[in-house]
């Protein structure tokens, strides 16, 4: 198993708040996987939660060294958060294709949340 890449990203809470207030929960849902939608439907969908998901997905995307993720790219990456500020990710290629897996951790202050992730190439054709 080799390292595919590492990625890091910061999302300000104000940016996530603005996105949610402009476009609402329905549009935000287009960036989530089916499983994430279920998880977040069961909890209150706060800007802080949303910021964490975006930061983790963007960090994972950067670890893949791709051009631009788009709505499909966001919903191709699934984030499972733990209770100690850690998370696991799995990334698919355009809704199909092999899965890359990785793990990471969050860091934050009162203005932003950051995510750092390491992604593993666990299949030779992982793309």
């Amino acid at each position: 198993m080799t390292i595919r890449g590492i990625g890091i990203d910061l999302i300000t809470y104000s940016k996530a708040r603005k996105f949610l207030s402009t476009h609402g929960r329905e549009k935000a849902n287009r960036l989530l996987t089916a499983s994430e939608k279920k998880t977040w439907a069961a909890k209150s969908f706060s800007e802080r939660h949303f910021s964490c998901l975006l930061a983790a997905k963007e960090a994972c995307f950067k670890a893949q060294n791709r051009a631009w993720m788009g709505t499909q790219g966001f919903s191709d990456i699934e984030v499972n958060t733990g209770s100690r500020g850690e998370f696991q990710v799995s990334a698919r290629n355009s809704g199909k294709g092999p899965v890359c897996r990785g793990w990471g951790s969050f860091f934050s202050n009162d203005k932003y949340v950051g995510a750092q992730v390491i992604l593993w190439d666990n299949t030779p054709e992982c793309g």
Binding site: I11, K15, A16, K18, F19, T22, H23, K27, L31, L54, E58, F61, N65, R66, A67, W68, M69, G70, T71, Q72, G73, F74, N93, S94, G127
Partner: protein, 130 residues
């Protein structure tokens, strides 16, 4: 009409990126000059859809998915085949400029205001007139 459309695009981009409308010049890069990140591109798409009452399919305005194809990318750089595909599928993008240093990670730097204007012009021209 063109001025009106450009003004609407300027306001839309300024609102999404938190900049003054005057900063949204035609040759401005959305990332390098106006500070856009991935989430901002999503925000821009949703805002343009609302402002112009259109649906923008995934990857049509801002490409990226094309380069998930391994035929089009080698060692982090877009291949000649990939550049050709970008020219065909994304005629709004200044592919010749990008081709000077076709690193995949730099593609978004070539997403400009001009590109958005061309895309919207084209979309509106193709819409049936009521």
């Amino acid at each position: 009409m063109e001025d009106e459309m450009f003004k609407k695009i300027q306001e839309t981009l300024a609102g999404a990126l938190g900049v003054d409308a005057e900063e949204v010049e035609l040759d401005a890069s959305l990332t390098r000059d106006l500070g856009a990140e991935s989430i901002d591109f999503i925000d821009i798409i949703f805002r343009l859809e609302k402002a112009f009452d259109i649906k923008i399919p995934s990857g049509e305005l801002f490409p990226g998915h094309l380069l998930n194809d391994e035929r089009y990318v080698r060692e982090g750089r877009v291949t000649p085949e990939g550049l050709q595909e970008l020219k065909i599928k994304v005629p709004y993008l200044a592919v010749d400029t990008f081709a000077q240093d076709p690193q995949v990670s730099k593609l978004a730097e070539h997403f400009t205001v001009q590109m958005v204007v061309h895309y919207i012009e084209d979309r509106l021209a193709k819409q049936p007139r009521s």
